[in-house]
Amino acid sequence: MSGDVRVPGHDEAIAPTLRRLRSRPRWLAGLYAGNARAVIGRGFRVIRAQNWGVIATGFFEPVFYLLAMGLGMGQLVGELPGPDGRPIPYAMFIAPALLATSAMNGAIYDSVNNVFFKLRYAKLYEGMLATSLGPMDVALGEIFMALFRGLLYSIGFLGVITVMGLVTSWWALAMIPVALLIALGFASIGMAVTSFITGFQQLDLVPVVLLPMFLCSATLYPITVYPEAVQWFVKALPLWHGVELMRQLSVGVFTSMTGVHVAYFLVMSVIGIAVASLRLRRLFLR
């Protein structure tokens, strides 16, 4: 047999696909089809069909922490020094920290547990990568969806703490984009980490990292309770920068550290995205 065999309907059907593929950068040819929007479209279809209760429970978690700790512990603790040194009520002290923590938890859960489950058990990505999508379309689409969920939660939480009178500055509106920045940093690192995971038992290690980070990153009490050496260790952790930045925004007080906090997450996101991109083949094309 020689020459090309024409399959009726084939050329017409995939013409738009090939047109799009021609317009993407050549160096990404094996990884990217310029069609992450199809993955995002799938995500919205799932959300639309999903039980809204599940989405709501994710919102309740930080609110419960805030109510319990703010009301109950607030009675025992009273006031703590705020970002500018002036004392603020305990609930006001922890609220921004809880927003930062919830951004971290949501991003890691979406980029590690969720991605691994879809990869290994639901075989979702196997189906996606049987089409003209590339691994990078899948990764970008999934990170976008994680950020979208993070956006919903942070808007909700900011609404709650505003109603409770726990923010005192218009700067608090910037807590939403900052929550997304924190989520992007953790999601990109999380996706890179997932490429090293081989079995679901290793997922047990996720809370082993996140829980201590939550408890010790000056979320529930000031960093000054630690000895100096421990303070330096905590200051190296990403969540501490997120917590401090959120706290400053909630009252509109900034210091020379503000830029450092923002820079920390920008650098973390760039590194995370770079490593995740390098690991994409390992993650999806085993």
Binding site: N51, G53, V54, T57, G58, F60, E61, F64, Y65, L67, A68, M69, L71, G72, M73, Q75, L76, V77, G78, L80, Q201, D204, V208, L211, P212, L215, C216, L220, Y221, P222, V225, Y226
Partner: protein, 275 residues
């Protein structure tokens, strides 16, 4: 001594069935412990890590900003019994949901065991014994680490370990009964962890006395095994001032929940196995 099972004619199946009826729960416990052995490292990591972390962060860290005594003692002493109880009860809640459901749905352990002479009652008791073993280990490790932190008020604080077992069972057995009725993985467990266990951990008097809460939120403590177990452990550890009748209520609540859960689980397991 029981009658011999292996005779000249091979296995005596009647003797085998009789023995299973009597000791089936232990036979199933044997299975459960073997199945968990690969996860021993994970179990020990969490059993060691949780107390270290919580006692350090909440007992010492949070304690540093609580200036006055709580319940008549320093904050570390006040919070330690609560942390022990809430840790073991959370473990028990986790074991009462996904693993039980999986035994019917994915791994189908209960159906394969149910095809042997083991019946629903032996499976329920076997799982409960397995839970007791884990709670005992976890509680003991927590208590020993608490000793190193100086978090206990008296030697009687070791009673927190058995109290933790009963409180854990009060959570585990009702959930086990419920999980056995679920046909498909829905959102129920999601709701249980996020809307029952999590609020219990936060609101049920672990970190602060229930009285620090507005009256309309205190019921969360009243209906939760965590609060009853925590109060009992505080009495044991540093002699928290609780009237005798209330101690009776705490004990009755925990034992009642555990027993009612067992009774229900026996029924739901039986119904699921013969369906």
């Amino acid at each position: 001594m029981t009658e011999p099972i292996v005779s000249d004619h091979g296995l005596d199946h009647f003797a085998l069935a009789a023995r299973t009826r009597r000791f089936g729960a232990v036979q199933f416990l044997d299975y459960r412990l073997r199945a968990e052995r690969p996860f021993l490292i994970t179990f020990l990591t969490t059993a060691l890590g949780n107390p270290l972390l919580y006692l350090a962060a909440m007992g010492l860290g949070l304690g540093a900003v609580v200036q006055r005594p709580v319940g008549g003692v320093p904050y570390l002493l006040f919070v330690a019994p609560g942390l022990l109880i809430s840790t073991v009860v959370t473990t028990a809640a986790n074991w009462g949901t996904w693993p039980i459901f999986s035994g019917f749905k994915w791994e189908k352990t209960y159906f394969s065991a149910g095809a042997s002479p083991l019946g629903a009652r032996q499976l329920v008791l076997g799982e409960t014994l397995g839970m007791v073993v884990r709670l005992l280990l976890q509680g003991l490790i927590f208590w020993l680490i608490g000793l190193a932190f100086g978090a206990w008020g008296s030697p009687a604080s070791v009673l927190a370990v058995p109290i933790g077992i009963v409180a854990g069972l009060a959570m585990f057995t009702p959930l086990m009964a419920y999980s056995a009725t679920l046909e498909s993985e829905g959102l129920q467990f999601n709701f249980i962890t996020r809307l029952i266990v999590m609020p219990m951990f936060l609101f049920a008097g672990t970190f602060f006395p229930l009285e620090a809460m507005p009256v309309y939120l205190r019921w969360i403590g009243w209906v939760s095994p965590m609060w009853h177990g925590t109060q009992l452990s505080r009495v044991a550890s540093f002699g928290l001032d609780v009237p005798g009748w209330l101690i009776g209520v705490h004990v009755a609540f925990l034992v009642g929940c555990a027993a009612a859960g067992l009774w229900c689980a026996d029924r739901t397991f039986a119904r699921r196995l013969v369906k």
